[in-house]
């Protein structure tokens, strides 16, 4: 496959970026998208040019490291698929592809396609946990959890924290990410004691970094784990209720 790649290049967060255009004639339909970039980087290095920096680690769609805007879509054209799992057979010979980093105020670019997603960690630190010290847990089967409840909690817990939801949102909001963690824990009996204070703290922290949600629902479409926006409604309800309950 022959491709024309328009790639965002930016040396550091302090410098301004721009698009550069590269020709790549050696792509193959069986390659993953990131392998295609590997091939480009090998060529750039051999020519003495700076290779394109992009984040990746597991390359199995689970660690949440990777994430590129591909032709304006977070993680590219295939539904429910992280960038590292996207394969070139989804493109055609002769295609031009525009590759950009996540664009969001809360995620500054560090270099080329690599962004800083620290605010996600901050949201979890604000309350995305159950306070249980090592060793103090009761016997695991003491509290039965209805199968459907566990499955529903798992639907939310599958979030890989990649940031596609924020990148795709016109407001740069992090509702889907936050709601996934809030709901995962609020659905389970173990999460009840801290339920109301958790949602308050996490939402507050979220709002200090990210834009507001105005229900575009683009996040759901971009999510590689197809996490449902129903969880956002759930979080909003919990947040509202928490106001009446105090903390």
């Amino acid at each position: 496959m022959r491709l024309t790649l328009h790639i965002w290049r930016q040396r550091s967060s302090r410098e301004r970026g721009r698009f550069e255009t590269y020709r790549l004639d050696e792509a193959s339909p069986d390659m993953s998208f990131l392998e295609m970039l590997d091939v480009l980087n090998e060529q750039l290095t051999e020519r003495g040019e700076d290779p394109v920096a992009f984040e990746h680690d597991c390359r199995e769609g689970i660690c949440g490291s990777c994430g590129l805007m591909i032709n304006g879509k977070a993680h590219g054209p295939e539904k429910g698929t992280a960038t590292c799992q996207l394969h070139m057979r989804k493109f055609r010979d002769g295609d031009a592809i525009r590759i950009e980093p996540w664009r969001a105020k809360a995620f500054p670019v560090l270099k080329d396609l690599v962004v800083d997603r620290t605010p996600f960690d901050k949201i979890i630190q604000a309350g995305g946990f159950i306070s249980v010290n090592t060793g103090s847990a009761p016997e695991a089967n003491l509290v039965p959890v209805p199968r459907n409840t566990a499955e529903r909690a798992m639907d939310a817990a599958e979030c890989i924290g990649c940031g596609a939801c924020v990148a795709q949102c016109p407001n740069g909001a992090a509702q889907l990410f936050t709601a996934a963690k809030v709901s995962h824990l609020a659905l389970l009996p173990q999460g009840q004691p801290e339920r109301w204070q958790r949602v308050q703290k996490m939402v507050e922290e979220m709002e200090s970094y990210f834009g507001s949600c105005t229900n575009f629902a683009e996040c759901e479409a971009a999510c590689p784990k197809e996490i449902s926006i129903e969880f956002i409604a759930r979080m909003n309800r919990d947040f509202l209720k928490s106001q009446f309950r105090g903390s």
């Binding site: 550091s12 339909p29 993953s32 392998e35 051999e46 660690c63 995305g128 159950i130 060793g135 695991a140």
Partner: protein, 638 residues
């Protein structure tokens, strides 16, 4: 040097209780005065850092990813073992202990394995309390499955994402301690060396992966939880960033490296499809429960699978192992696949693949049942290969996956350097010559939640009230200089080959000659080839850019430099171990039927290697192993 494993005396069931009582404690007020460095935020490091923070220690935790939540533990699919016996099928601590010792082919330390089985039950309690959404039965109680050929159902799982859910539990506990100020988290910070002063581990030197800043960190104890070294093979199921740098640098500073040649090659991975391939993807082992493995009976047969009639297929596992068939342990399944491919029966790219066929299962159970069981795996397969496994048999091939070898540790998980602890896949401890499925997650969490937090206190209590040292100490400065010197050396080579191209070639050598099957001559050749390639590396490497920026090629270059040295030690260890055991198969030592032949008389020991300097031969130390509770027997799966 005498290796003292510090195994407590007494009956195996009582050792850990007795030992916990004998360990000295640090009182709560004094814990605040101790600084502990934990390198790694996977299941082992994350759980250790969180637990130590809860206890009141000052903890600094490091990882190379942009967030602690992305450690490669996240990729584990299958599940985690625990001896809960919820299924009433005869499981017990003793049985898990027995299975693990036997599965490791009698090359692990009994006392460690018993403790692992003991604390396995606490792990599940802890994870459930944290909110890990394990699979449940309709009555709301925890579900189990049988995994990796075990005869009991003791594996707990969360869909195909058990590692993810366990790691998120750990990450949540860690985040809570970060918020409480007990743990400081340093992501995008790579440990490049260990600082040893007066024989004790006193800190580390790191590189900030965004700014390039080289920095020293002082501590009273250092814990390495940096995972395994399968990426020495270049293509593996590990994440791209997984590396051996932390443990290798510690090895060079005096920590013995145990059983480096014990590496596990997992039988069910998606085969390589091209020369540009960057990693291999694991397909859950559970697929072997219903899939049948075969190759064309005629060598060189290039017909499509559906053109090959039943009579011209060789279901080689069912043929060779009628009792276990497709469910033989990992090492046996992997080796058998290599053998049939070596003999010319392999299919797909480069003849390196075998079929995993669901046609019979679909006919017997119906497509819906297969979809319910394996739907997401089939989807993943199709996404990567573009083939539909409901109609065309899957193609699989073994891939490097896990390393049983690692830094040598005693019963307290301390290495041969005072104050340096090693936990999780980075140590050598519990799996002997072969790890059973669903046991690595268990070990990582056992080490981090339930073993290290006790044993480290004993060490610290002996150093109460000592003068603190500062990062200005000459010991730190000289290591910083070495680290900077190495980086400059790498950057100034200005040759013609990229890191990946050289790493790929190293991987080929290792997989060919020190992979699933090994010979004396092959290993000797490998050592020569590795040395030659390493020379080329230091003369012909091409890096672009500087240290003072985010530079991913430079990160890789440092890691690969260490892999060259580790690869050589791996081959030396494989030469020295003149027997076949577990995953270590030496062609010279096999039964007439072609099965692994152990030599208990001469090799019932841990091989622990001491580094003696650049260009010097390493020195071998042996820790004899005793099997008082599980008498060694020949594994048989016929």
């Amino acid at each position: 040097m005498k290796l003292d494993p510090r195994v407590p005396t007494g009956p195996i069931q009582d050792k850990w209780d007795k030992h916990r009582f004998d360990l000295k404690l640090v009182n709560p007020a004094n814990k605040r005065r101790f600084e502990i460095i934990v390198v790694g935020s996977g299941l082992a490091g994350g759980s250790a850092a969180a637990s130590l923070g809860e206890l009141g220690y000052h903890v600094k935790c490091f990882c190379y990813q942009d967030s602690a939540r992305r450690a490669h533990s996240i990729a584990a699919q299958g599940g985690i073992n625990a001896a809960k016996n919820y299924q009433n099928d005869g499981d017990s601590i003793w049985r898990l202990f027995y299975d693990t010792v036997k599965g490791g082919d009698f090359r692990s330390r009994e006392a460690n394995v018993y403790r692992l089985a003991q604390v396995s039950v606490n792990i599940i309690d802890q994870c459930v309390a944290q909110g890990v959404p394990f699979a449940r039965e309709y009555g709301g109680l925890l579900d189990n499955r049988s995994f990796g050929g075990a005869q009991v159902s003791r594996t707990f799982y969360a869909r195909g994402q058990t590692g993810q859910q366990l790691l998120l539990g750990t990450y949540q506990a860690l985040s809570r301690q970060v918020a409480a100020g007990a743990v400081e988290m340093y992501p995008r910070t790579e440990m490049l060396d260990l600082v040893v002063i007066d024989g004790r581990a006193r800190g580390i030197v790191t590189r900030d992966m965004v700014s390039g800043e080289i920095r020293s960190w002082v501590a009273d104890a250092v814990v390495l939880a940096t995972g395994g070294y399968s990426n020495v093979f270049f293509l593996s199921t590990n994440a791209k960033g997984c590396n051996a740098t932390a443990i290798w640098r510690a090895h060079r500073r005096g920590a013995l490296f145990a059983n480096p040649c014990f590496t596990q090659i997992h039988p069910t991975c998606i085969p390589q499809h091209g020369d540009y391939q960057s990693k291999l993807t694991l397909m859950s082992e559970s697929l072997r429960n219903d899939g049948r493995i075969w190759v064309p009976a005629k060598a060189g047969d290039t017909r499509a699978a559906d053109q090959i009639p039943e009579a011209e297929r060789d279901y080689y596992l069912e043929r060779r192992y009628p009792a276990f068939g497709n469910l033989v342990p990992r090492d046996i399944a992997s080796r058998a696949a290599k053998t049939v491919c070596d003999e010319g029966h392999g299919i797909g790219h480069g003849g390196r693949g075998v079929y995993l066929d669901f046609a019979d299962a679909i006919e017997r159970l119906g497509r819906d049942a297969i979809e319910a069981k394996y739907g997401n795996l089939f989807e993943m397969y199709e996404r990567i290969t573009g083939e539909d496994p409901y109609t065309v048999p899957m193609r699989i091939y073994p891939a490097p996956h896990y390393t049983m070898g690692g830094l040598w540790v005693d019963y307290n998980l301390m290495s041969t350097i005072d104050g340096l602890y090693v936990i999780g896949e980075a140590n050598f401890s519990d799996h002997g010559a072969n790890r059973l499925g669903a046991s690595a997650l268990m070990q990582g969490l056992a080490d981090g939640y339930f073993v290290l937090p006790y044993t480290i206190g004993d060490y610290l209590s002996r150093h109460m009230g000592e003068e603190p040292i500062s990062a200005d100490h000459a010991g730190f400065k000289s290591v910083e200089d070495e680290v900077e010197g190495r980086i400059q050396r790498l950057l100034s080579i200005d040759g013609r080959r990229t890191v990946d191209s050289l790493h790929r070639e190293l991987g080929h050598i290792c997989l060919d000659l020190c992979g699933m099957s090994r010979t004396q001559a092959g290993l000797e050749k490998a050592i020569g080839d590795i040395a030659a390639l390493r020379d080329e590396y230091w003369q012909n490497l091409k890096l672009v850019g500087t240290n003072e920026e985010l530079n991913q090629s430079l990160e890789k270059a440092g890691r690969v430099a260490d892999y060259f040295e580790l690869a050589e030690l791996m081959c030396r260890d494989a030469i020295d171990r003149q027997e076949s055991c577990g995953t270590h198969f030496r062609e010279e030592y096999q039964t007439p039927e072609g099965e692994a032949l152990r030599n208990d008389e001469d090799y019932t020991h841990v091989s622990a290697w001491e580094y003696r300097g650049e260009g010097e031969e390493p020195v071998l130390h042996k820790e004899p192993l005793e099997f008082e509770n599980v008498p060694p027997s020949q594994r048989s799966y016929k």
